[in-house]
């Protein structure tokens, strides 16, 4: 993956600069880690405790709970359940919002900055391939605010460049009404997931095959080196992360290895590399290739952006040999001719078992087809679906919930719809254990509505991120 090849492919593809901002809108505190044990996660005794009393809590991880209480300690949820069965800690702030309903914050797996004047400011700093977000993001972009106001508490920024492998970055949240954060505080993780694009074409195809071959060669060299390098080296490699743990400021991180969040994955990847540097036959690392290597080894979440059902058929054989590579499939095509024509390839999608990332917009299917809702058909076929707000479409962000309501009208189960906005996209980003549900130990990312979350007249009244209110619909609630 030489810079030259990268450039040529960018030129060939001429994809619109796709900015995707991936970031959990978390508080400034270190991000919570998945499956943390209560001990490890126990907040300091001084952490503020808030108990939210709501009419119904859609937990996503379980059944909706009526007359629920959600106890938030610091930036974590420490209890969720029916009011009668949850013990409210002494000294907790009681938020009696018994007409409201709560859901987990929405997760946006591929956000974009488009259609505002800020885009112009950003245009000089579009992420390309291996570049990182840090230092490039203008914190004043209105999209960050708009995303929060639309209920997205975890947002991802996609790099541009089509067929070029690049990194999805995570961004920290900001309290909307407060002062602008500095950029360093905004960027949470520059290398949270791998982003790949594939547009059918000879140049893209050849580039992808070549790049995959390079990554595969690195992996086989590495494996050969590890085998040949003998077992003694394997042991220190295993002990290393444990040693590293206490040094880390995020002690829960290593324990979350099972869930493979981005950071943990990278820690894992470093293990075999470091001992190799001392050895002679270590395969040389191409920093641009490493994210792809990690993704192929299932150590880094990946998102493969495709434009249509046809693109899937063209891409499938190229990636067929990569058995461990399980990217989410992001369909970015125009609603009429692109993504939503996925109903043509349901058997292939079912066989692949990858999560499909799609806008909730209804498709305008061609004349030979009829009115069926692709998103509903995907779920009916048992294909995991993550929804995203298509910011390129007019009102794509503001009307996100209305579009999801359309899907519900077309037969999608409301609970499935909510899962597709929360837990499933969180899983896509490898953050499925820390966000995406109202459950003990999760980040306190909560949306509060004054009615059913997707009902037309319902307002999103408050957005809580990591226990901090970052948006409120009315000043009196502020």
């Amino acid at each position: 993956m030489t810079p030259h090849a990268t450039d040529s492919v960018s030129k060939v593809l001429r994809l619109a600069a796709l900015l995707c901002l991936a970031g959990t809108l978390l508080a400034q505190d270190p991000p919570a880690q998945p499956e943390a044990t209560p001990e490890a996660d126990a907040p300091a005794a001084s952490a503020p405790v808030t108990a939210w009393f709501v009419r119904r809590a859609y937990t996503v991880s379980g059944a909706p709970v009526d007359n629920a209480v959600i106890v938030v300690t610091g930036d974590k949820i420490t209890a969720v359940g029916p009011e009668a069965s949850v013990e409210i800690p002494a000294g907790a702030t009681r938020m009696e919002k018994r007409s409201w309903m709560a859901t987990p914050g929405f997760v946006h797996p591929a956000a974009q900055f488009f259609g505002t004047s800020e885009r112009m400011e950003l245009s000089g700093s579009v992420l390309k391939g291996d570049e990182v977000l840090r230092g490039r993001l203008d914190p004043s972009v209105t999209e960050v605010r708009q995303l929060a106001e639309s209920g997205f508490t975890t947002v991802a920024l996609f790099p541009s460049g089509g067929g070029v492998p690049g990194m999805i970055s995570l961004v920290k949240p900001v309290p909307v009404a407060k002062t602008l954060p500095d950029v360093a505080a905004l960027v949470r993780d520059d290398r949270a997931a791998l982003a790949l694009g594939f547009e059918p074409g000879t140049a893209t195809r050849e580039f992808m095959i070549k790049t995959l071959a390079q990554a595969r060669k690195y992996i086989s060299d590495l494996e050969a080196f590890q085998k040949g390098g003998a077992k003694p080296e394997a042991k220190p490699a295993e002990t290393k992360p444990e040693e590293a743990k206490p040094a880390e400021t995020k002690p829960a991180e290593a324990k979350a290895a099972e869930a493979k969040p981005a950071e943990a994955a990278k820690e894992g990847e470093k293990k075999p590399e470091e001992p190799k540097k001392e050895a002679a036959k270590e395969p040389t690392q191409d920093p641009k290739l490493m994210p792809l290597v990690e993704a192929l080894r299932a150590k880094l979440p990946a998102v493969l952006a495709l434009t249509s059902a046809a693109a899937l058929l063209h891409a499938e054989p190229i990636f067929a040999a990569e058995v461990a590579f399980r990217p989410a499939l992001l369909f970015t095509g125009m609603p009429m001719r692109g993504g939503p024509d996925l109903w043509r390839v349901l058997p292939q999608l079912k066989r692949l078992g990858f999560t499909v990332v799609l806008s909730p917009q209804l498709s305008q299917v061609p004349f030979v087809a009829t009115r069926r809702c692709t998103q509903v058909m995907l779920l009916d076929a048992g294909i995991p679906l993550a929804l995203l707000a298509d910011q390129r479409a007019p009102g794509g962000l503001a009307e996100f919930r209305a579009q999801v309501l359309d899907l519900i009208r077309h037969g999608m189960d409301p609970n499935d719809a909510l899962r597709s906005c929360t837990q499933t996209p969180a899983d896509v980003l490898g953050l499925g254990a820390s966000v995406g549900a109202l459950a003990v130990g999760r980040n306190a990312d909560v949306l509060l509505f004054d009615g059913e979350p997707f009902a037309p007249a319902t307002r999103l009244v408050q957005v809580i991120v990591g226990g901090t209110q970052i948006y409120s619909a009315s000043k009196e609630d502020n």
Binding site: G201, T202, S308, H314, T370, A381
Partner: protein, 500 residues
């Protein structure tokens, strides 16, 4: 016959296993596995072919089969294994386990070959180094519409849709120039899959007549031919040097069009030369004769005026039996021209009698319901039927949309006729292929069902004397195996089909 089939089936049963061992595998398998394979192959060999049917077999039985390369067979059967035709005839052995489709009273013919097309391959601006194979849309609506009208192979030269006559006055009906353009795709309408698409890519060298542009262009084109001739000689010399052991010999290099033209001189690549009127045709034939380039004359409307010359120097002609219609070249009543000129309905018949291979072109090579709707690719077979009105036989006209275009495109080893060993690109029709009332009931491409009237609601609702009632309309049909249908689309008469 039977013995031959048994032998063939035994061979087929044995071959895939054998071949498997030869294919380099991505993962190095231990040699023991290969030994097991070999044993399995040995075990399979004596087994009766009827009991073991590797691959997917199907047969169309009892049909009138238009083989095109041979006679029309009444009450015949065609047998397909995977993507190839295994047998065709009136008395053939169908192995047990074959899916047999009763085609009694129906017609089977090779899929039509559209020699000039824009759209049915679902190409998305494929050009230059971007191959159609890597970017075509196997779900393109145009592909479905073309299949529904019998086209299973198409040649797209790229660029804008070719309105052969409408925009043809300057001799630029297809993507080409007087100095030659190499490109295009000959592909199959592999609806729903990306496999087995490309037949020839780049497809051909396209040349426009320089005559309308005058002297400079004429000289440039002549220069191209001369350079190609020199290049061909230089290349031959180089190959000779290599063969003689001179390893450091320099390979002669020249531009793409020139290289292609040199290859065309050896018959390795088709050359399509746009020449619709007599002056253009004569100019093209002059070059073809002088440099030994077997050109295919495109849109050769006035070929009938000099059939003997055309027959002597051209590989074939592509023409419109119904004429150019609205167009720019000389109308046949042009008082300024004293020689025979213009369109004649018996142009194809004259070519046929002179022995010039001719293939059918449509006025609009795209697929459309506007502008030249009805004279587009969806009426390719109707255009051929007009040649019958001009004096050729039905069989000759059918050949002009199947085997002849395949030959002119140099893909006739794969498609164009129903012969053993050729690709199973078949149409099942309810009438004679060129009957204006005929509908394609099913179309197979590479042995795969690519169009089925039963499930694709394009023509299924049309009632004729052979089609008693609207067909069962399953709107999603071949666009995907769908879970149970929740929404029902009303039929044109307002009723709703029963949902199973």
């Amino acid at each position: 016959m039977r013995t031959a089939l048994v032998l063939l089936a035994a061979l087929l049963a044995w071959m895939p296993l054998h071949a498997q061992g030869d294919v380099p595998k991505p993962e190095a398998k231990p040699p023991e596995t290969k030994a097991v394979d070999a044993k399995a192959a040995d075990a399979a060999k004596p087994a009766a072919p009827e009991t073991k049917l590797p691959g997917k077999w199907f047969a169309l039985k009892g049909a009138t089969i238009h083989t095109v390369s041979g006679p029309v067979l009444q009450g015949a059967t065609i047998l397909v294994k995977d993507s190839k035709i295994v047998d065709v005839g009136q008395e053939i052995n169908i192995p047990a386990g074959t899916e047999v489709i009763d085609a009694t009273g129906k017609h089977v013919c090779p899929g039509f070959v559209a020699i000039a097309a824009k759209g049915p391959l679902g190409l998305r601006n494929a050009s230059g180094k971007e191959k159609g194979e890597h970017r075509f849309d196997p779900f393109a609506d145009f592909m479905v519409l073309a299949l529904a009208n019998g086209i299973t192979t198409a040649h797209e030269s790229g660029g804008m849709a070719d309105f052969a006559g409408l925009f043809g006055f300057s001799g630029s009906a297809f993507t080409g120039s007087h100095t030659g353009v190499l490109g295009g795709t000959v592909g199959k309408l592999t609806h729903g899959t990306v496999e087995g698409f490309a037949l020839r890519e780049p497809a051909a060298l396209y040349l426009n007549s320089p005559v309308p542009q005058g002297g400079g262009a004429i000289a440039e084109q002549r220069d191209l031919f001369e350079r190609a001739k020199k290049h061909r000689a230089a290349r031959k010399a180089w190959l000779k040097e290599l063969a003689g052991g001179k390893k450091d010999a320099q390979e002669p290099k020249t531009d793409e069009a020139c290289t292609a033209l040199a290859e065309a001189m050896d018959g390795d690549i088709p050359v399509f030369y746009y020449a619709d009127n007599r002056r253009h045709i004569e100019h093209a034939l002059g070059l073809a004769a002088e440099f030994g380039v077997p050109v295919v004359l495109h849109t050769a409307q006035e070929a009938w005026t000099i059939p003997a010359e055309v027959g002597r120097h051209a590989r074939g002609v592509v023409l419109l039996p119904r004429g150019l219609g609205v167009r720019g070249t000389r109308p046949y009543t042009d008082p300024n021209v004293s020689a025979p000129h213009g369109w004649r309905i018996d142009n194809p018949a004259i070519m046929q009698r002179t022995g010039v291979p001719w293939a059918v072109l449509t006025l609009n090579t795209g697929i459309t319901t506007t502008l030249l709707g009805g004279r587009d690719l969806m009426g390719l077979h109707l255009e051929a039927a007009f040649a019958v009105r001009g004096g050729v036989t039905d069989a000759e006209a059918l050949r002009a949309i199947t085997l002849t275009p395949a030959e002119l495109l140099q893909v006739s080893d794969r498609v164009g006729s129903l012969e053993v060993g050729k690709d199973a690109d078949l149409l099942l029709l309810d009438r004679e292929p060129l009957d204006y009332r005929a509908f394609v009931e099913k179309a197979w491409v590479n042995g795969r069902l690519a169009y089925d009237e039963e499930v694709t609601p394009l023509y299924g609702h049309i009632q004729t004397d052979r089609r008693q009632a609207p067909r069962k309309w399953k709107p999603w049909g071949i666009w995907g195996e769908l879970p149970d249908q929740k929404e029902v689309v009303p039929l044109p008469d307002g009723s709703t089909p029963a949902v199973k």
